[in-house]
């Protein structure tokens, strides 16, 4: 009688066709253990079965690329034989079920991905998205999810000893009950000391190192590959529990063991634990593996082979040592009081053989589990062309009687623009003494002690733009990411991405996904920033309601000389303020339309248009800014995005470390644009810069034919903006700054 019933197959998230394929591969009925291995390896989370046909279009090559996608993290060259390894990964589903541990283990997982490559993590960031905190129905839940996630990230990163230096916190209705937690980490490694997750060398011993295996997280990968319903909280046991102290020990022990030269390959046990790490290592090397589960360190008794293979206990690694040198590895781990046990060996052929209590529990062809995993060209359908509904009406966006000062203050205090200090103050952003630009800027910067260089980085997303137009929206996000790096004086060099989407089984979602891939590709090619790592997270929906499609772009930039870094604050009275780029009429999907005029996200998406992006102009503006920075002409540079030029200028006026707030007098003139558009339009490709007045001619010379206009000067302690000769805004900086600074804290602490 068959042990594998249709119910069991369904419980494992496998379709009938997928099971038929398993039968064909195995040539017999699989054991329940084997079925478990197939189920996690073929889950959306591990196999990328819906996205692989599209991901291949992303540009992944370039002069600096040392390790392209496919390894635990991508690696790029930053010169002088130093490289950086980085990646962003989602932990959305676990963070909804159990915010603290979900977010904490998200940080833990991405840190392991980075130090598995031999790189010491030197910076972390997070892109977080939540439902509105004042939502009538879900507000309290959204608050508790936010607090839990922030607490979890702080708990893990602070103890581990990596500075959390940036990221974003965004609010929208679509993230109610569907929070997004995308964790990024970056490490530094010498070019000749990069390690790979390959099970190379027949006869080499396979070591299990780190934490003991328990029953936590079994089927976590399968959980992350399904949408949620009311029973989501029953899935709590699939979320793992993190131990950052143990991870710290694991980091130090791994790096020390790597230096010994005794390690041939190493891979972290993340999603699908021992199963995916062993299968992937063998697949990359084209070898077979034999493992004896009796030898695996366990913290619970009576575990079956099935449970051990599928456990997602944290802080574990699989290491292939060089034959005869396993003792050196064991000794290093012993020094750090960690388990390190030989549990098997690399063998010839293509079979994964798992023994437990004398039985052969699994015997399966490795390539069939990985390369032959299902790959779907899911149906795609573009949404029906918009029936241009009349809201927001074009004239509605242009009230002539509005109080612009009040609008500006409202924008500055709005959830997506206000200071996120309440969040990042809980992260240790300075440990390792490299953080040269602290959180809250366009991009964060860490210097590289071993060189004169520094690395900048930022995470950006914009679900609204992508929802309106996936291809153009994705391009806008990549452009903003690049611009954010440029604003600190860094040249963008490479990208990692995290593609957060609802169910891929809906054709319009899949169409959007494909469009996003093409948009990212086009923009990354323009900026010469290859995509070197990334992650896809589908099924971000609860009770049938999905998130806005949200690709998160992690862009990394390089400063050749850390002394040339630029900050966003205006510096000296009398300095000139100028705009690089052009302001167009881009209000229809803006923070202004939402916050000041009160349109819902659905209304904006229904009738709005994304700002028009000209990649050539964008590149010209960025190159100009970099040239000015390189010639030491800039006192400040700040990206102009959410909230438009008014918000950008106000933020440049606000105080920062060692710098008091300063005022500005601005005069904007454009006969073709009304006041609202001039102040709050979100046209891309714009940077607000400031420089000493006597440098104007030098600046102009470098600017050449790039759109450029002097719009005012640094003066006093008020912000005064006149539009076409008429004063529109006059406000004390102190009042504006106070509104911006206290908004989030007031919502969360009261």
């Amino acid at each position: 009688m068959s042990a594998i019933t249709p119910e069991i197959i369904e419980q494992h998230g496998l379709t009938k066709d997928e099971y038929a394929k398993i039968l064909e591969i195995m040539g017999r009925e699989p054991s329940i253990t084997e079925l478990g291995v197939f189920s996690v390896m073929w889950s959306e989370h591990c196999s990328y079965k819906s996205s692989r046909v599209h991901l291949g279009r992303l540009p992944t090559t370039g002069e600096r690329v040392i390790v392209p996608p496919g390894e635990n993290a991508g690696v790029v060259d930053i010169g002088d034989d130093w490289c950086v390894a980085f990646k962003v990964e989602s932990h959305n589903h676990p963070s909804f079920i159990e915010p603290f541990q979900g977010a904490a283990t998200g940080v833990g997982g991405i840190l392991r991905d980075v130090f598995t490559m031999g790189a010491r993590p030197i910076a972390a960031m997070n892109s977080l998205r939540f439902g509105p905190l004042n939502d009538e129905k879900h507000g309290n839940r959204n608050k508790s999810i936010l607090k839990g996630c922030v607490d979890g990230i702080a708990h893990y990163g602070n103890c581990f000893g990596v500075p959390t230096i940036g990221g974003e916190v965004v609010f929208d209705e679509s993230y109610s009950l569907n929070p997004l937690v995308n964790a990024f980490a970056l490490g530094i490694v010498r070019k000749d000391q990069i390690f790979f997750g390959k099970a190379e060398g027949v006869g080499n011993p396979v070591l299990y190192v780190g934490a003991k295996t328990g029953r936590d997280g079994i089927h976590g990968a399968t959980m992350a590959s399904a949408e949620f319903d009311e029973e989501a909280l029953e899935k709590r046991p699939t979320v793992q529990v993190g131990d950052p102290f143990l991870e710290k020990l694991l980091l130090e022990a791994c790096l020390e063991a790597m230096r010994s030269g005794a390690i041939a390959g190493i891979q972290d046990m993340g999603a699908a634990g021992l199963t995916s790490s062993s299968v992937e290592m063998a697949a990359r090397a084209g070898t077979g593996l034999e493992l004896n589960l009796d030898l695996v360190p366990q913290r619970e008794t009576g575990m079956t082979a099935y449970e051990m293979l599928l456990s997602e206990s944290q802080e574990r690694m699989l290491i292939v040592a060089k034959d005869g040198r396993e003792k050196e590895v064991v000794d290093v781990f012993k020094k750090w009081d960690l388990d390190a046990v030989v549990i098997g060996k690399v063998v010839e052929g293509d079979r994964l053989k798992i023994y437990h209590k004398g039985n052969l529990e699994a015997d399966m062809p490795i390539m069939a589990v990985t390369d032959n995993a299902p790959k779907y060209s899911r149906p795609m359908a573009s949404p029906s062309p918009k029936s241009k509904v009349q809201s927001p009406k074009s004239e509605d966006l242009r009230p002539s009687t509005f109080d612009f000062r009040q609008s500006l203050e409202k924008l500055l205090a709005s959830p997506n623009i206000c200071s996120k200090r309440w969040v990042y103050r809980q992260y240790d952003s300075m440990v390792r003494t490299n953080t040269s630009i602290l959180p809250g800027a366009d991009a964060a910067v860490v210097r590289v002690k071993e060189t004169r260089r520094a690395i900048s980085m930022c995470l950006d997303g914009n679900g609204r733009f992508v929802a309106v137009n996936p291809r153009e929206g994705a391009k806008l996000v990549v452009a903003e990411s690049a611009r954010n790096n440029v604003c600190v004086g860094a040249k963008p060099i490479a990208v990692t991405n995290c593609l957060n989407f609802p169910s891929p089984e809906r054709p319009e979602i899949m169409w959007g996904f494909s469009e996003v891939i093409d948009g990212i590709t086009e923009a990354c090619e323009k900026f010469e920033t290859p995509v070197i790592s990334g992650n896809v997270s589908f099924y971000n929906e609860t009770d049938g309601k999905g998130i806005l499609p949200t690709p998160t772009i992690g862009m990394v930039g390089l400063l050749e000389d850390v002394r040339k870094l630029i900050t966003q604050g205006f510096k000296n009275e009398g300095d000139l303020i100028a705009l690089l780029g052009i302001t167009n009429d881009d209000l229809s999907v803006s923070e202004y339309a939402q916050t000041v005029l009160g349109y819902t996200t659905d209304e904006l998406i229904e009738s709005g248009e994304v700002p028009k992006l000209d990649l050539t102009l964008e590149k010209q503006v960025q190159d100009t800014c970099l040239n000015l920075a390189d010639k030491n002409l800039l006192k400040s540079a700040h990206d102009c995005s959410e909230g438009g030029i008014a918000v950008a200028i106000a933020e440049s006026c606000f105080s920062s470390l060692n710098r008091d707030a300063v005022g500005a007098e601005i005069s904007l003139t454009d006969e073709n644009l009304d006041a609202a558009a001039q102040l709050f339009s979100e046209s891309p490709s714009r940077i607000v810069i400031s420089f000493a007045a006597d440098k104007l001619e030098e600046v102009k010379e470098i600017v050449g034919d790039c759109p450029f206009a002097v719009i005012g000067k640094v003066k006093g302690d008020n912000l005064k903006i006149s539009i076409n000769g008429e004063e529109s805004v006059s406000a004390k900086i102190e009042e504006l700054e106070n509104a911006w600074k206290t908004s989030l804290e007031n919502q969360l602490e009261n």
């Binding site: 702080a154 103890c159 131990d243 103050r425 300075m430 440990v431 953080t435 470390l657």
Partner: protein, 231 residues
């Protein structure tokens, strides 16, 4: 002159202290593993920040039992210099080298931010080189930096001028608003009666370069090296 920087398995500011001593203070420095017990070659020991043994119990509660801390006690008893920063301060309190204890911050959050410090006693080996009246800008990064002690201890700290640093505003005023964590009487750092053991919650090793926002921390390291060189 030689510095030793203790390394507990969960120390994470050990590299930062080492970097500052070797690069900015310009003195010989070595890491000292937590299982090591011979400290005879050092003039000063830095107990760095971090999470010593994970600190899932009270911060520093396990560290006080470590082999190296037994030696640090003897080292301090000989009058040699011991400097605890952040987790190091917590460990020195747990180990009984300094009075009082550090509990959860008033608002229960981890706080990482620059704070202002008033030097209350310039007559210590750690502060002798700080310009009189200067307000130091130095970052904190802790969840448990709320200094507490009983009234008798507080009185003796005051009488003996053992309060070395207090949180203050940018003008040097000791206000409740300038107190980031609820510490008793804004206490940020104290020394022992003999003045050779100092513990402070702020991180002077993070404030030794303009690039990082401040170099006020150098004053403290400079004071210590000058004191040692005059012995």
């Amino acid at each position: 002159m030689k510095f030793g920087v203790l390394v507990f398995p969960g120390s994470n500011c050990d590299h930062d202290a080492y970097h500052v001593i070797s690069k900015h203070v310009g003195q010989p420095v070595e890491f000292v593993w937590h299982k090591q017990t011979d400290l005879s070659s050092y003039d000063a020991i830095i107990v760095p920040g971090g999470f010593s043994y994970g600190d899932y119990l009270r911060c520093g509660a396990l560290a006080k039992f470590s082999p190296v801390m037994q030696s640090v006690k003897e080292f301090a008893a000989q009058g040699k210099f011991v400097f605890g920063i952040c987790n190091g301060f917590q460990i020195l309190c747990e180990a009984g080298l300094l009075p009082g204890a550090l509990i959860r911050n008033r608002d229960l959050h981890f706080i990482c931010d620059f704070v202002n410090l008033k030097v209350e006693n310039q007559n210590t080996p750690f502060t002798s080189e700080v310009e009189k009246g200067k307000v130091l800008s130095i970052p904190i990064a802790h969840a448990e930096g709320n200094y507490v002690c009983d009234d008798a201890t507080f009185q003796s700290l005051e009488e003996n001028n053992q309060i070395v640093f207090r949180y203050c505003d940018e003008n040097g005023e000791i206000t409740d608003k300038a107190n980031p964590n609820g510490a008793r009487s804004n206490i940020a750092g104290i020394c022992n009666l003999n003045r050779n053991v100092l513990g402070m919650m702020p991180h002077p090793e993070r404030a030794c370069e303009e690039l990082l926002g401040s170099n006020d921390g150098r004053d403290i390291f400079r004071s210590l090296t000058k004191t040692i060189s005059q012995i």
